[in-house]
Symmetry: C2
Subunit: 437 residues, 2 copies
């Protein structure tokens, strides 16, 4: 006996836990990491492109020469050395007025979102977010017992009129959303980017409505076609909370991200973070600081860009050549993801077991909505697999889709979703594990 | 202009933020890290005792040879390799029936406590905890908007009759505490250990009352006089959540801790952790796994024990030789801390600025209570400073105390606490930063 599977603790849980259930989808994803499966499901950078020997030497030195500090506790806000480097990194994105004093180092971009949620959200509070949006943000908002209201996008990102309508609809209930959560650049999962013109419109709308903006920008530096538009935070200093991470420009295994916050709020965030993790890892912070100080990190970002551009082209080419008629997809100019809309009648969630059996994995669209929609969509990742693997993955996927469509032509829609039930649980129940987020 | 100091966001914060204010004490602690100050305030292990060259080589290899996984995302629960090693580590403490499947790897021991709080605590819920208790746990409970009720200790740890009375008092209000938070072994800050006999009594009381137990055991392996008593979790499998960390047996700068939880609860904890930090650092986990696999970690713990025993003896000797009459203190048989009770009339919080001016730092007792008591106490750390520095610190501290007592003899109590106000804020407001927790 190593454990009981019966949950004797159910009636003791906090309210935020109710409805949190693991889904069958998660079990399927466990299979997706097998080498024979082409995974289009993850959000993993291509770490093999790093100069691992040089990184190893750097990290060895960090322990051997600076171990007395790099292996010790640090302060909650993060080291001043790293916060200074972070301000330099942000200038590359066009954020030129950031003070290291207003930066809070976090355990990856995820903790940044969680700290902001803890700072602002009471149970029942409303958050506006793009639909679809980052699965990990939905997990944060669910844990905060907040209500997510999705705002529609098109190829130019968030639609300003839809944002105004969402604000108005909330106001008609006598409520006000606490903030807009947005990934304006190379959005996860949609792969679209908020246009220059709309950036100003969105900021104006939020300012008029007194709506704070949480700008999540993990991918902004991974542009394939010139520089990305200026971040929202580069356009407005007040009211915008800027979050980013070194997970996509260096390495996710160190878990180092940050928030750039208005000064008064920064102190609260530090106290929140201390209550959560005491302090971010001194070693991980030292690793990033050394990397930014001693290694050609700007060139490495260019390496990532080149690799991902080639892979995006391979994925888009394969989709064009192999996908069944009626399938559409976005054409990202940066980042890691393509968002696909299936032909009428196909269900990305119901199709998952058959895709896994055909040795290809993706994330069903349902994971990216708080309201159960997204069955007609799937997210495809192109950063992790080589071009020929991507093409093979699309070939397998289109085979599964053709089969589904053929069955549908013969039997109608009914036979396609055995045991299928309309989902009732919260969105996170459909979410993949973190290696796929 | 790099930031505004005015807090325009006050009316937007979540309820949990209200009352969270930084205290003047925190500013003083910033000074405490200067080399001319003897800090008895921290909780830092003596990292210089690690074989840093060998650790550096190990970490360099981890990046160079296993970088494709150790620098990548991982799963939310933590790697199976580390969870298996953790189960081996726990056997040393007498926990022999743990399954790696029931272990959740966390960002240090702090995240372990925070995850349990998020799992169980709704606003207003009651938690029982020793008085005094770990400052970081108070921060967690405050962020969870819980009410902490302290249970008294003596030299044998938590007093069973006091625990029964606290349970009864809560029941008289028609309420039930969600759990007992306890550090039974080498308690922080009190330095006392729950006796063998009382361990069974406390467990029986909790079982009868249907009270869960959160057992925090960061120090159990740092015993100076034979092995510590068996952990509570080694005595009862159900109803006990066991938390520990590698911060005191290896290095806090990696931020690796864990929870051993009943199986059903473990799944919820993993989902909570994913919403918080996505996954623990793969690199930090790899570092601990390699350390436990390839390096003499049991011998290193013995090294730490020897060093800390010598330092404890030095601190106790200095207290005996130098402290003013009327001062008393605990005599820890392991861990990092001595808890001191000041002569009548001295106020550890009010005395802090003068102590810092005399180049010695400690943590006032108020940081370890949720209810504002503790002015008559201070916590002294003996793990970080060498024996002669400890003695010098006590010499400076006793000088400050003698001065205070002399002033008190001349002017009475009134002049001692200029501008002093009874504190009203929550406990965390008096808490030191994480480097001192």
């Amino acid at each position: 006996m190593t454990g009981t599977t019966q949950d004797d603790y159910t009636d003791r849980y906090a309210r935020r836990v109710r409805g949190m259930t693991t889904s069958e989808i998660r079990a399927l994803f466990a299979v997706a990491s097998r080498p024979e499966v082409v995974s289009l499901a993850g959000g993993s950078p291509y770490i093999a492109a790093l100069p691992l020997d040089a990184v190893g030497e750097m990290l060895g030195d960090l322990a051997a020469r600076q171990g007395a500090t790099s292996l010790q506790y640090g302060i909650g806000q993060g080291t001043i050395e790293l916060r200074e480097r972070i301000c330099e990194v942000m200038t590359l994105s066009g954020i030129n007025n950031a003070s290291p004093d207003d930066v809070v180092v976090t355990v990856g971009g995820q903790q940044a979102l969680d700290l902001l949620a803890r700072l602002f959200l009471d149970p029942g509070d409303v958050v506006l977010a793009e639909g679809p949006t980052y699965v990990g943000a939905l997990g944060v908002f669910q844990a905060a017992q907040a209500q997510v209201r999705h705002v529609a996008m098109d190829d130019d990102g968030l639609i300003p009129a839809a944002l105004e309508e969402a604000i108005a609809a909330t106001a008609r209930e006598g409520r006000q959303a606490k903030f807009l959560y947005t990934i304006p650049t190379f959005q996860n999962p949609a792969g679209v980017t908020l246009s220059e013109e709309r950036r100003e419109q969105v900021l104006d709308i939020c300012e008029r409505a007194g709506l704070l903006v949480v700008e999540d920008d993990p991918y902004g530096m991974l542009s394939f076609e010139g520089d990305a538009p200026l971040p929202l935070r580069a356009r407005r200093k007040e009211g915008v909370f800027y979050c980013s991470t070194f997970s996509k420009t260096f390495a996710p295994g160190l878990r180092v991200g940050w928030i750039l916050a208005p000064h008064a709020v920064r102190e609260k965030l530090v106290m929140m973070s201390e209550a959560n993790v005491l302090c971010p890892s001194a070693f991980a912070q030292g690793a990033v600081t050394q990397y930014l100080t001693t290694m050609p990190w700007r060139e490495q970002i260019k390496v990532y860009r080149e690799i991902y551009r080639e892979r995006r082209d391979a994925l888009l080419g394969a989709l064009h050549d192999l996908m069944p008629a009626g399938t559409t997809w976005t054409r990202p100019s940066g980042g890691l993801f393509v968002w696909t809309t299936l032909p009428d009648g196909l269900d990305s969630k119901a199709m998952m077991p058959r895709a896994i059996a055909a040795r290809v994995a993706y994330v069903p669209g349902t994971g990216f909505y708080a309201d159960g929609t997204g069955r007609g969509n799937m997210r495809l990742n192109f950063s992790f697999s080589a071009p020929d693997r991507l093409r093979e993955g699309v070939r397998r996927l289109s085979g599964v889709m053709e089969q589904e469509l053929a069955m549908r032509a013969v039997f109608g829609g009914a036979g396609l979703q055995p045991g299928h039930q309309r989902r009732r649980g919260p969105a996170a129940a459909d979410a993949p594990g973190p290696d796929l987020a």
